[in-house]
Amino acid sequence: MLSIKNLHADIDGKPILKGVNLEVGTGEVHAIMGPNGSGKSTLANVLAGRDDYEVTRGSVEYRGMDLLDMKPEIRAREGLFLAFQYPVEIPGVTNMYLLKAAINSVRKHRGIEELDAREFLKLIKEKAAMVEMKQEFLYRSVNQGFSGGEKKRNEILQMALLEPHLSVLDETDSGLDIDALKIVAEGVNLLRSEQRSMVLVTHYQRLLDYIVPDYVHVLAGGRIIRSGGKELALELEKKGYGWVEDQAAA
């Protein structure tokens, strides 16, 4: 699904990622953990193709394609989804409108017939029910006046609608109370499948109580310094990031 080799990336000439290697197989869920400033969000944004970051070295292969060579919208249409840490507000544009434009651009790209208003309405209502989102949110401007939890739920709704091959969730748990966290996690778990891979970027272990990863990686100083199974997360929780950082330095 995803093969990251020796990835280096700068922001404003300042190196953030310094040689990341990561292999994500189809159907696998990987958690990327690490202290603040370790480059977790940078990795997520580089994968999605944000302009502010410059890749200086390395390669990323996604489903047999050179990911770094693709525009952000092409990556999206090819099934790469980023759930944003801070979903943006777009005044005057209804959630419905954005979602319909999104799914139809994906369908068009894949040569599938675009959905008409009625078909779309049926589909979106189904998906909204799935992530337990009230329908009124569909008719409101994108994320405007949404609480932190509602914004994150909206991200999960978009993911459910677009059915990506690879989902990258950037600090999806930040700013959520425990109830909201559970609902978001349930949504993610519903979307877990043997065909779909996920990369969870998170600072805290607690998200992993609800979404159990297959693999856990620790990102620090722009590199993955340790990888392991889900038990690594528990160890991190107990011993803190200093523990692995010291070990890596030793």
């Binding site: 404003d12 000439g13 999605a48 193709g49 944000r50 302009d51 502010d52 525009k71 952000p72 919208e73 990556r75 999206a76 249409r77 989804f81 980023l82 944003f84 801070y86 979903p87 943006v88 777009i90 005044p91 005057g92 544009v93 209804t94 959630n95 419905m96 409108y97 954005l98 979602l99 319909k100 434009a101 999104a102 799914i103 651009s105 994906v106 790209h109 208003a117 779309f120 309405l121 569909l138 008719y139 401007s141 978009q158 677009l162």
Partner: protein
């Protein structure tokens, strides 16, 4: 932090070309015209009046306005920069040569018909689709060349005539209202217009009549070195209703051309006038060469209790726009509205807004202004809300939002408030935002192209104004901003 900013503005700079559009209306019609030599004096005014076979009082009115104009100077307070206009370098009258009185469209020069066809303006009644009935008055340079559905409208009691013809057929009616809302002494350009206006539309809706179709006037400047000075007068008697739209285009030329119009609206007790403008005058090229100077005075008077006047404007064209469609809320319980989208790209400048003058009790006004600046465009909102002493319980709500694209454009807000009655409630809100990389990236990450994302964001920003336009024109306005249809769901 500074570096971060630099990165943002570099990528934002690429946004402006997306608002760039080819000016499809920029062609010239090759037609024989009768054009007065450049210059303005009493003789020119006498000639115009004579050509129109006007009554004596009309000529006197023009000459008085001219005398006033001579003593006035162009306004300098607006946030606009342009070289002085050479008023003696302009021709004040130009008309395509044709027979004086036309009985039917068959007698209109085919080149003119072709021009309007090319512009997509329906001036052939027969060819109009059922359901989208719009009556059109087509003004070409200084004269009205065709007016549709005149008879159909007359059958309903509605007068929809070129103002020059109305002066022949209904001189008393015109005399009663002309200059009653915008006196010729009002300002420099209004005085000039009063002296030299050559055509425009006259609308009269009798008591209790709901005008059976949308009325519209389509203004076209064609001839070189001419100014267009049209005059529109709409009178809605008690409990009547009319929705009126104007559109404007001009050829692409290197010289600046002057357009100085006056629009007067009169709404009697319980009457409603909805006036919409889609202004698409040639804006000049990407280096700021050429384009129309659009200096316009528009004002409506709510004369009777419960009258309502609503201005909606979408201003995408012109090198310079200077206009403040206003409402005099004279009667009790009257309503004034102003909805505006003004787009300035390249070197375009706009200083536009409104004046809401509350005189009657319980009068209410709403102002929604959306300014979009891109390239080196400068966009100013200027608005006055004035509540007079007797305007018990007057209410105003103003909202002025500016959207910036890139780091070389400007947005300015000049709200003025004068409140003389303590029971009045006047609210003003203003926001300035930038189309952010964040918004764009978010949309692209969901699969939208960059162009579609910009369109969607701009469209969302203008939504409150677009929804005030009649359906067909809303579509037109969206196309003008180069944006796809928003709101087809949801």
């Amino acid at each position: 932090m500074d570096n971060k900013k630099l990165v943002m503005s570099n990528s934002e700079k690429d946004l402006a070309p997306m608002l760039q559009r080819d000016y499809a209306e920029g062609f010239v019609t090759d037609i024989d015209s009768e054009t007065l030599p450049p210059g303005l004096d009493e003789d020119v005014i006498r000639t115009i009046s004579e050509k129109k076979n006007e009554p004596e009082w009309m000529l006197r009115w023009r000459l008085e306005a001219f005398q006033r104009w001579l003593k006035m100077t162009p306004p300098r307070w607006a946030h606009l920069h342009h070289p002085p206009v050479d008023f003696q370098g302009i021709s004040y009258y130009s008309a395509p040569k044709q027979k004086d009185l036309l009985d039917s469209l068959d007698e209109v020069d085919p080149k003119l018909l072709e021009t309007y066809e090319k512009l997509g303006i329906p001036i052939d009644e027969q060819k109009m689709l059922a359901g989208v009935k719009v009556a059109v008055d087509a003004v070409f340079d200084s004269v009205s060349v065709a007016t549709t559905f005149k008879q159909t409208l007359l059958d309903a009691g509605v007068i929809f005539f070129p103002i020059s013809e109305a002066l022949q057929e209904y001189p008393e009616l015109v005399k009663q209202y002309l200059g009653s809302v915008v006196p010729s002494s009002d300002n420099f350009y209004a005085a000039l217009n009063s002296a030299v206006f050559s055509d425009g539309s006259f609308v009269y809706i009798p008591k209790g009549v709901r005008c059976p179709m949308e009325l519209s006037t389509y203004f076209r400047i064609n001839e070189m070195n001419t100014g267009q000075f049209e005059r529109t007068l709409i009178v809605a008697e008690e409990d009547s209703y009319v929705s009126y739209l104007e559109g404007c285009t001009a050829p692409m030329r290197d010289e600046n051309q002057l357009h100085a119009a006056v629009v007067e609206l009169v709404a009697m007790k319980g009457a409603e006038i909805k006036y919409s403008t889609v202004q698409n005058w040639y804006p000049g090229d990407e280096n700021g060469k050429g384009g129309i100077y659009n200096f316009v005075t528009k004002r409506g008077a709510c004369r009777g209790q419960g009258a309502k006047i609503s201005w909606t404007q979408v201003e995408t064209g012109s090198a310079i726009t200077w206009k403040y469609p206003s409402v005099l809320l004279e009667g009790d319980d009257t309503i004034g509205e102003f909805y505006s989208v003004a787009l300035t790209n390249n070197y375009q400048q706009a200083d536009t807004g409104t004046k809401m003058i509350h005189i009657g009790k319980n009068s209410r006004s709403t102002i929604i202004s959306k300014g979009i600046s891109a390239g080196k465009g400068q966009n100013a909102y200027r608005g006055l809300v004035k509540v007079l002493k007797g305007a018990e319980n007057a209410r105003n709500y103003s909202q002025c939002d500016s959207l910036l694209m890139g780091d070389q454009c400007g947005a300015h807000t000049f709200p003025y408030m004068e409140v003389k009655n303590p029971s009045a409630v006047v609210e003003h809100e203003a926001t300035t935002s930038r189309i952010g990389e964040d918004q764009l990236f978010y949309c692209r990450q969901r699969g939208l192209s960059e162009e579609d994302a910009v369109s969607m964001i701009v469209n969302g920003f203008c939504k409150e104004v677009f929804k005030e336009l009649p359906m067909e024109f809303a579509v037109e306005a969206q196309k003008l901003l180069g944006i796809s249809l928003e709101g087809s769901v949801g």
